[in-house]
């Protein structure tokens, strides 16, 4: 159960890094190219740290690259939130706000107790605090900026918000039960959205879900096809 749970966290981080990589050379200003690359690198580092823990726990001799490059979409355990396209800057920062709020809580719990992921989590806590702050700053600027930016950010929030409940689904046997983080996560997100003059949508009664069980949107297979293509074209090669 611990390995499964950590694999989910790692896949969230890897898929996020993959989506953020797209922004490098496409950001609204040069400072943001640097910032998004930085955040992508942090997420990639967390994924690698967690894959190392997972492969250790499994004891099957798999490597981080086996996990990243040789699994197909149904074997990935990331939430749907992170795998969907993200080529709109408002979507990018709203999604980052939701994810970083959640990661902050999860990593804080893992860092506070004995366990195989403690070291990775302790480092990640500091990193995602920066991601959360960066996202919050942008949500404020965009939400309370121009009329156009307000509209685009509200639309992004309306699109991303239904994917939040999947992050908070109960998993009583997991090292951290995500359901227990619900108030803390909402407590981090809601004040930012209010201050940004955005309307916080209702949480849907029947939200999209399935990522943790390997049931994904069609977007994940496409993302993986791109990510894995060179590695898979040369089986057994060293890079």
């Amino acid at each position: 159960m611990t390995a499964d749970f950590l694999l989910g966290l790692a896949d969230d981080a890897l898929v996020t890094a993959q989506r953020l990589g797209w922004w490098v050379s496409r950001a609204p200003e040069l400072e943001e190219d640097v910032a998004l690359a930085n955040i992508g690198l942090d997420q990639l580092g967390q994924a690698r740290g967690l894959y190392a823990v997972v492969t250790d726990l499994e004891g099957l001799g798999r490597t981080e690259d086996d996990l990243a490059y040789l699994r197909d979409a149904p074997d990935f355990r990331n939430v749907l939130l992170v795998e969907r396209p993200q080529t709109d800057f408002a979507v990018c920062v709203v999604r980052m706000l939701l994810l970083a709020a959640w990661q902050s809580e999860v990593y804080a719990v893992l860092a506070a107790r004995e366990g195989p992921a403690r070291g990775v989590a302790a480092k990640a806590v500091k990193e995602v605090a920066y991601h959360l702050d960066h996202a919050a700053q942008w949500v404020l600027r965009l939400g309370d900026g121009t009329e156009l930016s307000h509209e685009r950010t509200q639309a992004a929030l309306d699109a991303e918000w239904p994917y939040l409940p999947e992050l908070l689904e109960p998993a009583p046997a997991a090292p951290v039960d995500p359901a227990s983080l619900r108030d803390a996560v909402l407590g981090r997100v809601r004040p930012v959205l209010h201050e940004a003059t955005l309307v916080v949508p209702e949480l849907p009664a029947d939200p999209p879900t399935g990522g943790r069980a390997g049931r994904h949107t069609e977007h994940l297979a496409a993302l993986l096809a791109e990510m894995q293509q060179v590695a898979r074209a040369h089986p057994g090669a060293t890079w």
């Binding site: 050379s25 990639l44 900026g145 156009l148 060179v230 060293t238 890079w239």
Partner: protein
Amino acid sequence: MEPATERSATVEPRDPMPDGYRRTLVRQIAQHAHSEIIGMQPEGEWIARAPSLRRKAILMAKVQDEAGHGLYLYAAAETLGTPREELLDALHTGRQKYSSIFNYPTLTWADVGAIGWLVDGAAIVNQVPLCRCSYGPYARAMVRICKEESFHQRQGFEILHTLSHGTPAQRAMAQDAVDRFWWPSLMMFGPPDADSPNTAQSMAWGIKRFTNDELRQRFVDIAVPQAAALGLTLPDPELRWNEERGHWDFGTPDFAELAEVVAGRGPCNAERLAHRVRAHEDGAWVREAAAAYAAKRAARTSTQEPAA
């Protein structure tokens, strides 16, 4: 202005300087800054496809460094009174150039290695002397940049070394990348000295310390033994050690091709510029929002707090 060789201290932003010196510096620093940010594209496309997580992290950090180099250099140009916005506009409208090398396509993963080894390698040869150039802010930016470029060069070398000692397909990929990037890398040093009329003035001003041909020779002398260490060949049948000169003799790059690429007719000129312009235009609403938000906040604080 005294000749550079007779001056010990650097020129600083508030010092008086000849108009021509200022103009030449702005053009050179801007072109350098533009090269850093356009240079993010050919390799940036491979972040998504990097074949291992370790390589992905290294490449992402490298492209991030290039964005940082752009920032340092635009800041150096701003000390001469030209805002970044103005320089970006000159890039986007084709009034200012960037290095011709980034108009060649990156076709395989090995190209990431070849760019690191050869293109960052050539950039280092070009830029190390600029760490002692006469304009202080530019010289200081170059010191920071050169440190990072040498990381990039080593990483590129390491990628190619791994490929050339890998499977036959990997080895072929590495050789093909070097075959395609060798001559364009030699062209990074610009036209031959005989066709470089501004060199003498730039050297007198201390914003250039060696001629194009001197730097090109230095690069070849460094690259030849490295190619041997990689087990890859350089695509020049005229390469030969010249005992008398103490340098490697090499063939003449196709400077007509260089002129074409510089004139905007290289393989990827249109794509690279369109990508940059699209990013800038797509981001306009974000920059406008940030400005509007900052203005609102400033207005709020000024109504809340009485003036001191």
